[in-house]
């Protein structure tokens, strides 16, 4: 019987709206699907800024159903304890919110899997913890709606929830090395920063968040279901979960994110020259293979010390360094898996160009800290080296802003390129080779000046 009543509530209560709360993820995440299910789960976590307020509103709306339906008097005359009824409704809402969100996640992950893009085990764990926050929001809405049974409670709670969700970002200081954000703020589900395609949260942080969210769920359930005096017991799960969760959190919020070893795992071609990408970029391997080998051939033909294989470069933004140290016999590629199906969304010629930027080297980590004009000179030198290797003119530099947004101005490139070509041919080669060597060790110096001479 209870199953039948539960099913009626799932279909006829606001549970159907709770099931739809996570549906906008279909829109938010659609362009990022090629980056794997880990990014999808992280995207859902960030989207809790919107989903939590919606869930609060749905819960509060449901809480007013008896009053809205003028059912209160009839319900008063029935013998079943009130908490039975409330528990079934709360269960229906929570289950629907979870089922709806998992369905969206499963559909999108299924699509990701079908396209061969990366399905991350850690993404499912991250998403599972996000579910607890979502359930906590639905039940909190139910509890608040019950305690403050006004017609305006659902919209006000939705608005208030939204403000609460964005408030930390507005009030908390920007996380920086000099002023790091304390780890306790990680109890706010969205305060985990951008989790990139190679990253995930540490097991300790996920555990802490799960414990805290479970405490929230229990407290909200008590408030939503229990009678007047039992409601006070809601403090207990809150206090207990904080006491257990906070010690699990790192001292600094930035330490919550680590590289996901399953995402950075290498996948290589069977034949030589070997081309390797990360598991995340696996769908791009087939398209990357030929451009990568073309780039290797060009480097071999034009430089004395050329790399023999290609490997995807993975930059650990938290550590400020690349995952693997530079090796002069490896050409590092940044794989632009921008397409929804995880495939390369860049023309082959552009890929070759990208591989030859900096004479086949990754940008040095110090470059990101350079002032704008110095960064432009640095990038100009790297682009001119690529043009020289390709034997192309500055007009052939790709200009698609989604991938080549960082390129320096065409005029600066053209001027530097002309100066390089004005040098004797042997000099040109040695200067490009020197730029490559300097970039491999990330040594000091003005790259543009070293490449095309004084006074540029």
């Amino acid at each position: 019987m209870i199953g039948r009543i539960f099913w009626i509530e799932v279909r006829r209560s606001a549970a159907r709206w709770a099931a739809l709360v996570s549906l906008p993820l279909m829109l938010f995440a659609s362009s990022d699907l090629g980056r794997g299910s880990g990014v999808l789960a992280a995207g859902h976590r960030q989207a809790l800024v919107l989903f939590v307020p919606l869930a609060l509103g749905v819960g509060a709306w449901q809480a007013r159903r008896d009053r809205r339906s003028a059912m209160e008097e009839l319900l008063t005359t029935t013998p079943r304890p009130v908490w039975h009824r409330r528990l079934v409704t709360a269960g229906a809402l929570a289950s629907a919110a979870i089922a709806g969100a998992w369905l969206v996640y499963a559909l999108l992950t299924g699509y990701i899997g079908l396209t061969g893009a990366f399905v991350s085990p850690s993404g499912a764990r991250l998403f599972g913890v996000s579910m607890l926050y979502l359930v906590a929001a639905v039940l909190t809405g139910l509890a608040v709606g019950r305690l403050v049974p006004w017609a305006l409670t659902p919209p006000l709670l939705t608005l208030g929830g939204f403000v609460l969700m964005i408030l930390p970002d507005a009030l908390l200081p920007v996380d920086s090395a000099a002023n790091p954000l304390p780890g306790r703020w990680l109890l706010i589900p969205t305060e985990v920063g951008g989790v990139g395609r190679f990253e995930t949260l540490t097991a300790a942080v996920l555990s802490a968040q799960a414990i805290w969210a479970a405490g929230l769920v229990t407290a909200a359930l008590v408030l939503a279901v229990a009678s007047r005096y039992v409601r006070l017991a809601a403090v207990l799960p809150l206090a207990a979960s904080v006491a257990v969760a906070v010690p699990l959190l790192p001292a600094q919020a930035r330490d919550a994110v680590i590289l996901d070893s399953s995402a950075t795992r290498r996948v290589c071609t069977d034949d030589a020259p070997v081309v390797c990408v990360t598991a995340v970029s696996r769908p791009a391997l087939a398209e990357l293979r030929e451009p990568a080998r073309r780039a290797l051939r060009i480097l071999r033909e034009r430089l004395p010390q050329a790399p023999a294989s290609v490997s995807e470069a993975v930059f650990d933004a938290r550590a400020g360094r690349y995952l693997t140290p530079d090796q002069d016999n490896v050409l590092y590629a940044e794989v632009p898996t921008l397409a929804r199906n995880g495939r390369v969304a860049v023309p082959e010629d552009d890929l070759v160009f990208g591989l030859l930027v900096g004479a086949g080297t990754r940008p040095c980590p110090f470059a990101s800290a350079l002032p704008a004009h110095e960064r432009a000179r640095y990038d100009t030198a790297r682009v001119v080296a690529a043009l020289w290797l390709l034997g192309e003119t500055p007009q052939s530099v790709p200009r698609d802003p989604t991938w080549w947004w960082w390129l320096p101005s065409e005029a600066a490139v053209a001027a530097a390129h002309a100066r390089l070509l004005a040098l004797p041919v042997d000099d040109q080669m040695s200067r490009v080779a020197e730029l490559r060597e300097a970039e491999l060790v990330c040594g000091p110096g003005d790259r543009l000046e070293a490449l095309v001479g004084d006074g540029v």
Binding site: M1, I2, R4, I5, I8, R12, S13, R65, S69, A70, M71, E72, E73, L74, L75, T76, T77, T78, P79, R80, R85
Partner: protein
């Protein structure tokens, strides 16, 4: 559909009256709407008549355990209406159709009646059969799978009656049950009441004197929170005598029913007596 009776349903009861009130006072807000009522009702259909504000709805709400008596005593099914397990036991045996009948608009008729059956803590195995029987009895069989929000006013009222009778209550409280019913439905409703009368104490609060005259085994008239008349429907008609004016001084004609004229005459006499 014939229902099998359980042994405990045909066993003799341990109480004389299904409803027993002594000097019962019930407040509606600050106002004393039921002011010292003595009442003892057994099985049968008891019509509760009275002008607006007479205290009918307040009395029914007290019998439905919505309102607590301000003073006096109220015994339902032989037990004092107090809180806790006694109240729960009594409520299992009550069916109630409020005057302002609210319902979940998105539920189907079957789901709604089923939900109320669950709230009335009926044995789960009995629920499907009881729900179907209640829906059949109010003539909503062909609309059982329709959403409540799609029903007409009369159908909603019938769904309200279905939820009230789903648990085969020993006390059935119906507040204005025929509002919105067409003449044919009202005839069917009266037949249902007569059917229920054998083993149920049915209390029907209404403005419609002819419903009471046609379907009730006895009639009670209330005014200003007190019982001013109790008798059979025939007594109500007999009270009409040769009355030519109602309680408000307006003319009565032969086209007004005997029961209505009797009701009016009793109210007139009561008010004249009260004025003296």
């Amino acid at each position: 559909m014939v229902r099998r009776l359980e042994a405990d349903e045909i066993a003799p009861t341990g109480y004389a009256w299904s409803v027993q009130a002594e000097r019962l006072q019930v407040r509606a807000g600050r106002r004393l709407a039921v002011a010292g009522l003595d009442l003892a009702l057994g099985n049968g259909v008891h019509g509760l008549l009275g002008p607006n504000g007479a205290g009918k709805t307040t009395l029914v709400r007290a019998l439905a355990t919505v309102l607590r008596p301000a003073s006096g005593s109220l015994r339902l099914l032989g037990e004092d209406v107090v809180g806790g397990s006694v109240l729960r036991r009594i409520r299992r045996q009550i069916g109630y159709l409020p005057q302002e009948f609210g319902y979940y608009r998105r539920f189907t008729v079957r789901e709604f009646v089923e939900y109320i059956a669950w709230l009335k803590q009926m044995p789960p195995a009995d629920v499907p059969g009881a729900v179907q029987r209640a829906i059949d009895r109010v003539g909503l069989t062909d609309r059982a799978e329709d959403r409540m929000k799609t029903l007409s006013g009369g159908m909603v009222r019938r769904a309200g009656i279905a939820q009230a009778i789903v648990n085969d209550p020993l006390i059935l409280l119906l507040d204005e049950p025929t509002v919105g019913l067409d003449p044919d439905q009202r005839l069917q409703f009266r037949a249902l009441l007569r059917d229920l009368a054998a083993d149920t104490c049915v209390i029907v609060a209404t403005h419609l004197v002819e419903d009471v005259a046609a379907a009730c085994t006895d009639v009670m008239l209330m005014d200003e929170g007190r019982l001013v008349f109790r008798g059979r429907p025939a007594d109500l008609a007999a009270a009409a005598g040769d009355a030519t004016h109602d309680g408000a001084g307006d003319s009565l004609t032969a086209r007004d029913s005997l029961a209505e004229r009797g009701y009016s005459e009793i109210m007139r006499r009561h008010r004249e007596g009260a004025a003296r």
